[in-house]
Structures are given as C-alpha cells and as structure tokens.
Symmetry: D2
Subunit: 284 residues, 4 copies
C-alpha cells in the first residue's frame, strides 16, 4: 500500500444513487477504493461519505480529479474536500506551561503515527522552549494579557501564514481565542480537560472534585466562537474515587487529555472527520 | 462465612489513634474483622471508616454493641451507623413506564445479589403492574399531576410507613420529589440518565445527541432537594457515534442506567456508602 | 423509516469498481441506500461489504433481486446473502441452569431491541422451565449424558427443523456440541465466560481467580468444531481486584456475559456480521 | 502533608485483633495513620495489610521502628516490609529498540509522578542511547546472543550492584531473563504486550490478529522463572475491529502498554503492591 491515495470527504442532500455515482466516478478512471464509508443523517436528509482510493494507475491527474469531480459535486449540491496522502499538512502546536500533550504529540509524530509536519510551536510562556529546541522546532514566546491580546493574535496569524500552517492544535494553551482570530483561521483543535458539556470553562478538575463525580474525562473539539461549544471529535474518561484528591484528578486527567487529543488529531489528519450542524461524523 | 456480621460506618474529626481505638473495641470483645477500610479527607481533616466483623463468638449482644460503642463515639465526636448482615432492609421501587431498571433490580434480588426485601412497587402509571404481579410484589398505582401531587406524596409516605420501608429506589420514576417529601423520608436513590453534571433535568439523551457527544452515561445518586445535585454513588458510560440516532442513545443508555443503578443499590445495601459534604465515600 | 429494507452481505476477491458495480445495481432499480460499509482485507485481497437499502419504490420483487443479483455475483466470484428486514428470523435459546443470559435476551426481545421470534427453548435441565412458561415459549427438557448425547442431538435437530429455527443461541448451555450436530446445523452463537483465547474450556473464572488476573471478560462467538475457537463476534471485560473472590468473579462475569451475548445476537440479527477465514467483520 | 511517612506492608495468618495490635503499635508512639487498608484472603486464612503514617511527631527513630515492630511481627508470624517516603528507590530501565514505554516512564518521573531515581538504562541495542543522553542517564549497550547471554547477565548484575538498583523495569526489553539472574535479583517488573494469560511468549499482536479478537491488552507483572507467569500487577485493554491491521494492533497496543506499565511501576514505588501465592494485593 505504498502508493499515494486520494481521499474524498463529501456531504450533500440525500437522494437515490449517490454511492453509485461517486463510486462510478472513481471506477471509471480506474481507481481502486481502499476505504469507503457512508452515513445518512435521516433527521436532516443528509448524505455524508468518505472514500479513499489508490492513485496507482488512476487515470486522472490530481488537478483533473478536482476539476472533473466538481461538476458531479455541483449537480449533487455537495460540499466536498479532496486530500492526497502524500501531501503532509503542517501543524502548529500552541501551549502554555504544561508539557504532557505537547510531548505526546511530538512523540507520536516522531514515531510515524501522525502524518504531519510540525514546524511551529507558540506559547504565552517560555517554559516549554527547551522541548521545542530539543525537537528542532521553531518556538515563539508571545505573552498575552488583556492589552496585548489583539496585537499578539495578529502576530500569531502572521506566523501561521509565514509557516504555511493548516492546523492549529491547542495543547493546553489555556487562552481563549478571539472571534476575530477564529474568523481569520478556522482549523483549530482544542483539548478541554473535562467531559463536555460538564464543566466548561475554568478549573474543571477542581469543580469535578467538588461535585464528587466518579468519572472524569477530556474532550477534543474544534474551536468555534462559543467557548467549549465546538463540534466534538473525541472524548475519553477515567474512573476516580474518594481516594483521589483534586491533584490526583489532575494527574489522572493528563492521561486522558493526551490520548483524547492524540486520537482526535490523528483522525483529523487522516481526513476522517467531517463537520456539519455543529457535530462530527468520524469515519474510523 | 455464614455467620452474620456487624458493619460500622463512622466519620469523625481526624486525630491520632483512631484506627487503634476502634479496632481495639472490636478485638477486645473477640470480633474478627473481615473488612476494614479507612479514609482520611485531609481537606476537611475528617476520618471516615468502614469496619465489618464476624459476630461468631463476639461477646456483646447486638444492643450492647450500640450502647457501648456510643460512649467511644461520643468521645470522638463521631457520626456512626451500625448494621447487621442478617437484618435485611426493605426497599420500595418507584417506576413510571420503563421496565428495564425495575426488571434488573428484581432479577438481581432473586439471584441473591441484593441483600434486601422488596415488598412494594409504586408507580404513577399502571403499565408495569403485570411485572409486580409476576414477582408477587404489592403494586400501587398513584397517578400524579400538579393538583394531586401533594396528596399522592402523603399517600406514598403512608405506604412507606405501612410497609416499613428503609430505602426508596427511583428506577426511572421521572417525577421530582417535593422538598416536603424529602424532608420526611431521606433515604432515596435515583438513576439519572446522563453523566452528571452534564444534562441535568429533562431529555438528557436528546440533548446529548444534539450536542454531538461521543460518550453518554448514567448517574446513580442520593436524592436531595436540589434536582440532580445529590451525592453521586456510581456513574457509568458507553461510547456512541454518529451512527447512533437519539433513539439509539436511549437504547444504549438503558444498559448503563440499569448497571449503574444496580451497583449503587448493592453498594448501599452492603453499607459501603458513606455520605458527607454532598459527596460519597464508597468502600468497595 | 418504516418501509422494509433489503440487506446484502457480500465478499469477493478485490478488484477495481466493486462499490460502483454493486451500488449501480441498487441505484438502477431505484433503491435508496441507507447504510453502506465496505472493508478491504489487503492481506487476503478480499472485498467485504454490507449494503442496506429501502424497498420503498424499489423496482424489483424480492425474488427478482436474488435472481438478478446472482448474475453480477457470479461474475465477481462472490459469496453473498440477502436479507429482508420484515422477515424475522426464528431463534432457539439453549440453556442449562443459569438464567441471566436467557432472561436478558427475552427482555430485549420483548422490548423490541432484537428483531427475532423466539419459539423454542431447550435445556438439559428443567430448572428454567418456569421462565419459558412465563414468556409463553415452548420448552423441551432433554437431559444429556454420554450415552444419551447422540440420541438427544438428533432430537434437537428434529426440533430445530420442526420449529423452523434459523439461529441457535447457547445462553450458558454448558454442553459441547458434537461435530455431527455442527455439520447439520451451522448457525450457532455461544457465550464463553472468559476473554478468549484466555481460559478456554471449563471453569474459566476459577482459573482466572487462581491466575490473579486484574480484568475478566466474556466472548460471544460462532460455534465451530474446535471448542472455543470459533469466529469471535464480540468481547467485553470488567475489572476485578484482590477483594473479589472467585464467587465475585462469577457474579461480575454474569453482567459481561449477558451484555456481550446480547450485542452479538443483535449484530447477527441485524445482518451486520460477516464471517470469513475464522474471523468476523462487524459492520456496526 | 509534606512530612515523610512510613509505610508498612504486612501479611500473616489471620487471627482476631490484628488491626488493633498493629494500629496500637503506631498509635502508642504517636503516629497519625494517613492510609490503612486491610484485606483477608479467606481461602488461605491470610491477613494482608498496608498502613502508612506520618513521621511528624512519631516517637521512634527509623531504626527503632524496625527493631520494635519485629517483635510484634514475630509473634504474628508475619512477613513485612517497612518503607520511608523520603527514601527514593533507584530504578533501572531495560529496553530493546522501542522507545514508547521508556519515554513514558522518563516523562512521568520528570513530571514528579514517579517517586524514584533512574540512574541506569541497559539495552541489547544502541538504538535508544540518544534518549538516555538527553535525559542525562547512564546507558550501557550490552548485545546479547546465545553465547554471550550468561556473560552479559553477570555484567548486568554487576551494574545493578554498582548503581545500587532496587527495581528493574523491563520496558519492552524483549529478552528472557535466566533463572540464575532472577535468583540473584528478584525485583523486576515486565510489560507483556498481551492480555495474559492470552498470548504469552512471542508475537502476541500477530497472534491476536490471527485469532480475530475484538479487544487487545497489556499486562504488567513481576518477573518469575516461568515466562509470563509472574504475579500480575496491572492489566489494560483497548478495543480493536476488523479495520485494524496487525500493525494497528501494535500501534494501539503501545498506548495500553505504556499506561499499564506506568501504573504498575507507580503502584510498586508507592509500596501499594503485596505479592503472595503468585498473585498481588494492590492497595490503591
């Protein structure tokens, strides 16, 4: 399976013959499908699909695929994206002072589990600069307070452009992005340290401890304007007991944070996540 | 292990020598401890403990245990309860129209897994009366609306008294108990069909579906005046995906509801749950 | 979605254009696909797929579907099955003395979660006859020992024929089926009370206890000639600790047995399980 | 809670008054118990306990504790160990070529979650030497083949002595220790990449894939002479499906390997694990 693949993510109003039409498009140009998964949301009469096929022997060039498929897509009134497995996206990780999510992502990328390049780390503190240096990744320390926020976000946007970044991962960044920023750069995954919608906002572990819950969790979601309300990609939980202090909640929580975030980022990078109506379809 | 046991649940301000003092009380009267678990809440400087010992060869009668221990307890400024394994408590199950939690509890009781007698089922509908008949349990149909609620709750309290009930289990009863009722009868376990504090109140599955969560859950808790805010005994979760409609959420949820409730009821009946500061210690 | 659906389960050597061809067959006769999932086993170059489409407005009669699809299937050298959602299969449950799996299946069927008819219960003991009566299901008590086994299996086969049974579920039947029986009736699901391949054969909980494991499990699988070696449909696990005696293993195990079995039976009845090479594809 | 604590792990034949006697010993010298958990194995009539108390204001010196408690222990025919929280044990990690368990342990130690010093890494390959250098830990490359094994194990034992090592952790070391080595150094934790007793020995993921299991796992256990038969400390599992190739089993397995191993090592280092009869009591 070393040949590159093309992946199509598509959503459109449901109608008869959709699978046949799309599969026909691939087959007629000699594409061999290696993954195809379709979902119908009957409430919204919406068809959602992911198809991945080998480019070995495929008779269209990459630009031709887009051009020719767009005709079909238009007739279906479809939203669609096309990705090629050998075009690695570029990801920027934003952190504050905690290192566990950052290290976990860097290790997985190094281990070959995340098909991505990571050229840029941004932080409002300089605590994790040594890790960036160790992994040979450019690090920018952009402290943020009420006054500097707007200015720093402009600087951040400039860096994203300069580094040609496709995806930002907030790996415990602990800052709220402004609507202006979100409008300017839309592809951001955040890890929130609670089982949303329980405990949105600040200090979720302390509040979970106070409430006496028996299970805590973490939620990886796309960032939208409303805090902790974006489409959820992945959630994970772990049991706690009366023996666990709120510090233990934090310690146990780190493990679910890093694994929920890593899985969400991997699913996104494999083009397995399709967002619609404030929710996700995860073709796993 | 067929001899009956005594179980002591105790909480008091922390101080040196507590385990020694309490264990000494048991040992000095020739009790053999078969379970002892202690917990210290350092935030509140509170000692909480559960001790269970065999009554075989124990040199105090049951009434003597209470009398003599109360002296020690007073000197420790302790709250305590004493239970005997051969005194089966009496439980009333309250239901609405759904049968899964009711059936599960009845089956477990019949299988010998719940040390309890179940002489009374109360419902605001008559849907589940056949199940009560099949298990030979008295069933009262007490329809409730805004006007009748106060009157029916009086009737319910009278039945609890008449049947000598120790514990009420709301097995998807779907009605909110009034503060007056809760003041009059305090030992009630409810199963809420969400992972609290997410989605308290009505229609949690529909709201979970709408939010696009990837995990749903159920919460068994003691009932207090504030809706869905009582001390949590047990929680359980199950994964959902985009393939699951809100009806599937309900179907999958039933399984976690019944198992979370069954475990909570069993822990309570085994005197393993100690409530303090709106939270529980579960000595399992 | 009240219109009946057709479900096609198919496996064949992988080649280009398979999805297109099969989807085209459905679309060309005006079938609206409501679920389509495809899997390629690259090790064996095998294409495996499940397609479900609405029969509302479909322009082929049920017999025509088979006839016409068989031509396509032949050209693909495919194995395939066709099922219709309104043709409820008929299931026989076989038990020994334990009731938890039987009761769980009966409840779920009654609750509408299992699309199946259950006209026949067979047991080598009469212990569970009252449950059969309560649910109005015919019950046959066929005691088995070494001498009577061959004779009783003939009787069992005759009953399966008489009752027109499509699926046998061994719900803790605790007897090994002979190769002759398996050759004569091939569609049987068993629940084994361990996390296979750990602890095949007798007394898995006792052996798990002795080994000091920290997690126990249950495995639902199709029955084949080799004991506990059949294709696995579903597995489930639960944590145990040193506090759990082997009796507690058995008690906790019951819960995972019944839920693993119920899920496996449901998946089978929804025609979501495809067996090949001693393994299963589960299109869930 | 910054004052150091003493932790007693003890097992002895069960008898009346054990908790009282041991707790009395602590109380009489003004020790404040912060954790006490007792377990009785009724099959073997064995009492097993862990007590941890603050040394603040305790009236015995560390050497006195041992001397005086040994008298009591002798009268109870007890096995016991005494640990002090401010005496950090020294751990050596042994690896082969895979880095995930090593990195995970090093991160956790650096994050303050593992109360241990790690002065020594040993490997039969030099692949992970850069990680050792990066963390400033001495690294010894001791290649092993049939001929060199006995000689290298002598060298390993010499290093353990030289570095004053208390615990060896085989973090995917992939070599079998000889009985001679095990006789000479007894405190070793291994991570096996299967849910034991399923798939002991080589290539567990390939075998799990071939068997078509739906859940895979990892097992952390003490090393004994019989391969993969030592007392189990911790196990963890993760779901797999037909979509997961055996390479995916390996990738998913890494996550459960590292977390099962990290938890086991932490429990050991906190003196929460008591071994008896080829099994463990984990006082968590």
């Amino acid at each position: 399976m070393s040949a590159p693949t093309a992946t199509l993510l598509i959503s459109c109003p449901d109608q008869q013959g959709l699978v046949a039409k799309i599969a026909h498009f691939i087959a007629t140009h000699h594409g061999n499908i290696i993954h195809a998964d379709h979902h119908t949301d009957f409430t919204n009469q919406l068809f959602l699909s992911r198809l991945e096929w080998s480019l070995e022997g495929f008779q269209l060039s990459r630009s031709q695929i887009g051009t020719q498929f767009s005709e079909l897509a238009e007739s279906l009134r479809a939203n669609w994206q096309l990705h090629f497995s050998d075009c690695k996206p570029r990801m920027s990780i934003w952190v504050s002072k905690q290192d566990h999510c950052l290290l976990d992502l860097l290790w997985r990328q190094q281990a070959g589990d995340l098909p991505v390049e990571i050229p840029l780390i941004i932080s409002n503190h300089d605590t994790l600069q040594p890790i960036a240096e160790q992994f040979n990744i450019d690090f920018y320390h952009l402290p943020i307070n009420k006054e500097s926020k707007a200015r720093q976000e402009k600087q951040q946007l400039a860096l994203l452009k300069q580094y040609n970044i496709d995806l930002v991962v907030l790996a415990k960044y602990m800052q709220i992005l402004s609507p202006q920023f979100i409008a300017a750069f839309s592809s951001t995954i955040n890890i929130h340290h609670s089982f949303l919608p329980a405990f949105p906002g600040a200090n979720p572990y302390q509040r979970a401890y106070k409430r006496g819950v028996k299970i805590i969790g973490a939620t990886a979601h796309y960032v939208t304007e409303e805090l902790d309300e974006g489409p959820i990609i992945e959630q994970e939980v772990v049991r706690v007991s009366h023996r666990d202090s709120s510090d233990e909640f934090i310690r146990k929580g780190k493990d679910v944070e890093r694994s929920a975030l890593a899985r969400a980022v991997r699913l996104h990078l494999q083009n397995r996540v399709l967002v619609y109506n404030h929710r996700t379809v995860v073709f796993d």
